[in-house]
Structures are given as structure tokens and as C-alpha cells.
Symmetry: C2
Subunit: 113 residues, 2 copies
DNA sequence: TCCAGTACTTAGTCTGTCTAAATACAAAGA
DNA sequence: TCTTTGTATTTAGACAGACTAAGTACTGGA
């Protein structure tokens, strides 16, 4: 019954996770969802309702740029929106990583696990 | 401009932090607030409006037991409500620590900081 | 034909932290 | 004396972000 990581715990970290996942290269939302879930060793089940709105926020803040995959593409299937990091997104990712390590250090010191 | 740890990031971890702080011995809310802030190296500024309601939740869940400090005490000043861990609280703390380390491992793997 | 998988959207809910203000007591200083 | 500062608790209301849940749309396989 391996407990899952709850949504509450994730709060405020999802943005950095998405930016980090995008660092490996441009991707569409569903792919990001799968990439992160795969990296989560089955403990992390993100929902579309969290990921897509989070991506919209990132786009609104200019941290990612999005464009619809060219329809001339040879692939079949639903259209996909491709996200890529902007320069500001990279800067924010660096900042997010600092915040993450600070967070782990400080909370870890208190929780003492 | 040392950035502070935001409330969002803390979500879902405060309960474990409080239980952990109580492990050192019974304490009242204000003391817990100060203890945790002190352990936070100035990066963590909890608010009463977060801590007291969190303690009420813990009490409601039977994870801590609370009682008013005996009025016969020789000390002067406002009355204080003393919290102590229950057996269930200790069990939950252990569980919270496992969740914390899982969380750090999984999110850390994605953020890669 | 129906279903499963991919891919995106969005309305509405929930909950925990926050802001902010109030209460109360004591000690120190002007 | 009056004010301020520090200790200590309470609580109403705001807010943000992850959630539930339902929908759209396309493709391929059973």
C-alpha cells in the first residue's frame, strides 16, 4: 500500500518540477506528465487538472513558450502543444533549485528524518 | 534578499514539523513557533494563523493532547496551552518522516538540484 | 462497433497557509 | 501614568494551487 505523495505536499514545487523536466528538451504536456510520473517511481500521480493549468501559469509568466505542433507533421493523432523553456524560465529554474535545496535543508533539519 | 520559504512550499509538511518539534518534549504553541523558526535559520517565518489551527487539527485527530498550564504555576503572564505527543502522534510522526524522505527522494530526482 | 490510449480543456471543490485583527497579561521606559 | 514591547492565544476571511470530474477530439485494434 505504498503511500502516494499527496497533492498538498507538492504545492509550490510543481512549477520547478515542470521547468526541470523541460530542461531535457521541448515537450508537450502529456509527455511531461508521463516523464514526471515515470521519474516518480510510481509514487507520484500527477493529474491533467494540475499539470495543464500549471503550464498555463508558466506560459503567462513568460517562463515557457508554447506552440501547436505543425499540422504538416506526418504523425497521426490529437494535436499537441509543445512547450520549451525561455531564458527567464531557465533563470527561474535555477532559482527554483536553490529554493528546493534550501527547503530540503531547513525542513529536513526540523523533521530530522 | 535571502528568499524565504513560502507558505505554499510548506503545505502538507507543517504537521510533521510540529510533531517533530514536540518530540523533544511538551511545549506550548508559541514555543513551537519559536523553536521551528529558530531551526529555520531565519528562512522560515511561520505565522500564528498557521500554527495554532494546525495544532487544533492535530488535537482533533488525536495526535497531540493539550491542556492549560496549571494556574497555580509561579509564572506570570498569559495562560499557555501545553501540547504533548500521544502514542498515535508518535506513530504519525514516524509515518510523516517516511513520507518526507520519499518526497525528498522523488521530487529531488526530478528537480535534480 | 466499441474500447483503450493519446492529448488537451475547464468548471468547480477543497484545504491549508496566509493576513489581520482582536484579546489578555506583564515588564520596562519615557 | 501612559505607551510600548514581548509573550500567548484566538479566529474571521482571503487566496492559491492541486484536485475531481467531465467534456472534446483523434487513432488503432479487438
Amino acid at each position: 500500500m505504498t503511500a502516494e505523495i499527496s497533492g498538498d505536499a507538492l504545492r509550490g514545487h510543481l512549477a520547478t518540477m515542470l521547468l526541470s523536466a523541460l530542461e531535457a528538451g521541448p515537450a508537450h504536456g502529456f509527455d511531461l506528465l508521463k516523464r514526471i510520473e515515470a521519474a516518480g517511481c510510481g509514487l507520484l500521480h500527477l493529474k491533467e487538472g494540475s499539470v495543464y493549468p500549471a503550464l498555463y501559469r508558466l506560459e503567462r509568466e513568460g517562463l515557457v513558450r508554447a506552440e501547436w505542433e505543425s499540422p504538416e507533421s506526418e504523425r497521426r493523432g490529437p494535436r499537441r502543444r509543445i512547450y520549451r523553456l525561455t531564458r527567464r524560465g531557465r533563470a527561474r529554474l535555477a532559482q527554483g533549485r536553490e529554493e528546493w535545496s534550501r527547503f530540503v535543508r531547513v525542513v529536513g533539519a526540523i523533521v530530522g528524518a
